[in-house]
C-alpha cells in the first residue's frame, strides 16, 4: 500500500524535471511589431491563435485564392508583417532560421510547414503594402510620391495624348 505522502512525493519527483525541462527548452517568441487590438493582442486571443492559427490561415487561403477576398485579419502577409519585423539592427530572420517567428515554435513542436517554399517569409516593401493600423496614407500615394521623379512629371505634363 502506498501512502498518500509517497504518491505526492513520487508525483512531485516526476513532475519537477518535466517542468524544469519545459522551461529550459520552451521557445522564446520574437515580439510582434504591434498589437492588433488591446483586448486580444493578436488578431484573436493569443491562446486561440496558438491552437487554431492554421485553421484560420487555411480558411483565408482558399477565400483569397479562389474568391479574391483579401481581408487583413488572417492574411499570412500580415502575420509576417507584424511577427517577423526587422530587428533593431535591421536584420530580418529567414524561415530557415530558428529566429523566424514561425520556425521558433515549429522547430520545437517538430511540425514541418511548407508555406515558405512559395510564400515570402519576410515583410515586403511596407510602403507599398497595407498595414494593420489602417491609419497610414493610402499606399498608392506613398508609392507614387516615392516614384514620381522629374522624368515622369515631364512626361505627364508634355504628353498630349490623343483622346479617342
Amino acid at each position: 500500500m502506498l501512502s498518500i505522502k509517497t504518491i505526492i512525493g513520487l508525483g512531485a519527483a516526476l513532475l519537477l524535471p518535466l517542468t524544469v525541462q519545459a522551461e529550459s527548452i520552451a521557445p522564446k517568441l520574437p515580439p510582434a511589431k504591434k498589437k492588433y487590438s488591446e483586448e486580444t493582442l493578436c488578431v484573436k486571443p493569443v491562446d486561440d491563435m496558438r491552437k487554431n492559427h492554421m485553421d484560420y490561415i487555411i480558411h483565408q487561403r482558399d477565400d483569397t485564392m479562389r474568391e479574391g477576398i483579401r481581408t487583413e485579419q488572417f492574411s499570412l502577409d500580415e502575420c509576417i508583417e507584424c511577427h517577423n519585423a526587422p530587428s533593431k539592427d535591421g536584420k530580418v530572420a529567414s524561415s530557415k532560421s530558428d529566429e523566424h517567428f514561425c520556425s521558433t515554435c515549429h522547430t520545437y513542436a517538430a511540425v514541418k510547414i511548407d508555406c515558405f517554399s512559395c510564400h515570402a517569409d519576410k515583410p515586403q516593401n511596407t510602403q507599398y503594402r497595407h498595414s494593420l493600423s489602417g491609419k497610414s496614407m493610402p499606399h498608392h500615394s506613398q508609392f507614387a510620391t516615392q516614384k514620381l521623379n522629374a522624368e515622369t512629371l515631364q512626361m505627364l505634363t508634355t504628353n498630349k495624348e490623343s483622346q479617342q
Binding site: 487561403r61 482558399d62 477565400d63 485564392m65 479562389r66 474568391e67 479574391g68 477576398i69 483579401r70 481581408t71 487583413e72 517554399s117 512559395c118 510564400h119 515570402a120 519576410k122 515586403q124 497595407h130 496614407m137 493610402p138 499606399h139 498608392h140 500615394s141 508609392f143 507614387a144 510620391t145 516614384k147 514620381l148 515622369t152 512629371l153 512626361m155 505627364l156 505634363t157 504628353n159 498630349k160 495624348e161 483622346q163 479617342q164
Partner: protein, 250 residues
C-alpha cells in the same frame, strides 16, 4: 459613379492640373487608370459582373522593346536561374514576319485568360482555376506539378517552376505551374483595380500599345476601343473567348 469610370475625363483633369494636383491625384502614370472599374471591398468576393481583359495594339508595339516583359517579371518576382531553358516565362515578346511581304510585327504574348480555359478542364486537382471575374490562375496549394495544363494550353503560356524559389514577392514555388495572373494583386487592390505591370510599363515607355480593364463595363477605355475597332483573338477557331485581344494583327 459613372464619372469615376471615365478614364479620358480623369486624364484630362489630371493633365490640365498637374501643378495643382490634390494628394489623391499625385500618382504615377499607371496609377492614373485607377478607374478601370469600381473598387471591390476587401471582404467581398470577385464576381462575374466583371471580366478583366487586356487589349494590345500590335501596330503600336515596338519591335525590340521588352519593357512589358521586364516589368512583369520584376513585379511578380520571376527571376532567371541562369538556365534559360527552364526559366519561367509569364509574358514574352513574339515577332511575326510575313515571308511574302517581309512585314514584321511585334507583340507581347501571355496567358490569354480564356473564358473556357483548356488548362482548367484537364487539371486533376482543380488547382488550375478561373475566378468569377475571368482571371485564370493556378492554386499552388493544390497543384501537384503534373503539367497537364501546360500541355493543354494552346498558347504555351504556362511555365513549371523547376528549382527552389527564395525571396518571393508573390507566391511561387518549386514543383508548381504558373503563368500570367493579370496582376491579380493589383485587381484586388482595396482602393480599386489598377493597371497591370505590363500596361504600366508600356505606357511609361510611351508606346501606349496596351490597355487593361473591365470588358463588361462599357465605360472603360478598353471596352470603348474594342467596340470601336474590334479586337482579334489568337486562335479564335478554338472558341475559347480569350480575355486578351489584339488589334491590327495581320
Amino acid at each position: 459613379m459613372k464619372n469615376d469610370n471615365n478614364i479620358n475625363q480623369y486624364r484630362r483633369q489630371f493633365l490640365s492640373s498637374v501643378t495643382g494636383v490634390a494628394a489623391g491625384l499625385t500618382i504615377a502614370p499607371g496609377v492614373l487608370l485607377n478607374t478601370v472599374a469600381h473598387a471591390k471591398q476587401a471582404d467581398q468576393p470577385v464576381s462575374s459582373k466583371n471580366r478583366w481583359g487586356l487589349l494590345i495594339d500590335t501596330s503600336k508595339c515596338a519591335t525590340g522593346c521588352n519593357a512589358c516583359v521586364t516589368a512583369c517579371h520584376k513585379e511578380n518576382g520571376v527571376s532567371s536561374t541562369g538556365r534559360p531553358a527552364t526559366d519561367a516565362v509569364w509574358i514574352r515578346k513574339v515577332k511575326l514576319t510575313d515571308k511574302v511581304t517581309g512585314h514584321v510585327q511585334s507583340l507581347p504574348f501571355m496567358c490569354q485568360h480564356c473564358e473556357k480555359p483548356p488548362c482548367v478542364d484537364v487539371c486533376p486537382t482543380n488547382a488550375s482555376m478561373k475566378r468569377d471575374d475571368g482571371v485564370v490562375l493556378v492554386d499552388k496549394h493544390a497543384c501537384i506539378g503534373c503539367r497537364y495544363c501546360m500541355m493543354a494550353c494552346p498558347y504555351n503560356a504556362r511555365s513549371f517552376v523547376h528549382e527552389p524559389v527564395t525571396d518571393q514577392i508573390y507566391p511561387r514555388g518549386q514543383g508548381t505551374v504558373e503563368s500570367c495572373t493579370m496582376c491579380v494583386h493589383r485587381i484586388d487592390d482595396p482602393e480599386g483595380p489598377r493597371n497591370t505591370a505590363c500596361v504600366d510599363a508600356c505606357n511609361a515607355e510611351g508606346h501606349k500599345a496596351m490597355w487593361f480593364g473591365d470588358l463588361k463595363d462599357p465605360s472603360t477605355e478598353i471596352s470603348q476601343r474594342l467596340k470601336q475597332y474590334g479586337g482579334e483573338q489568337i486562335r479564335a477557331d478554338l472558341g475559347l473567348n480569350t480575355g486578351v485581344r489584339y488589334q491590327n494583327l495581320s
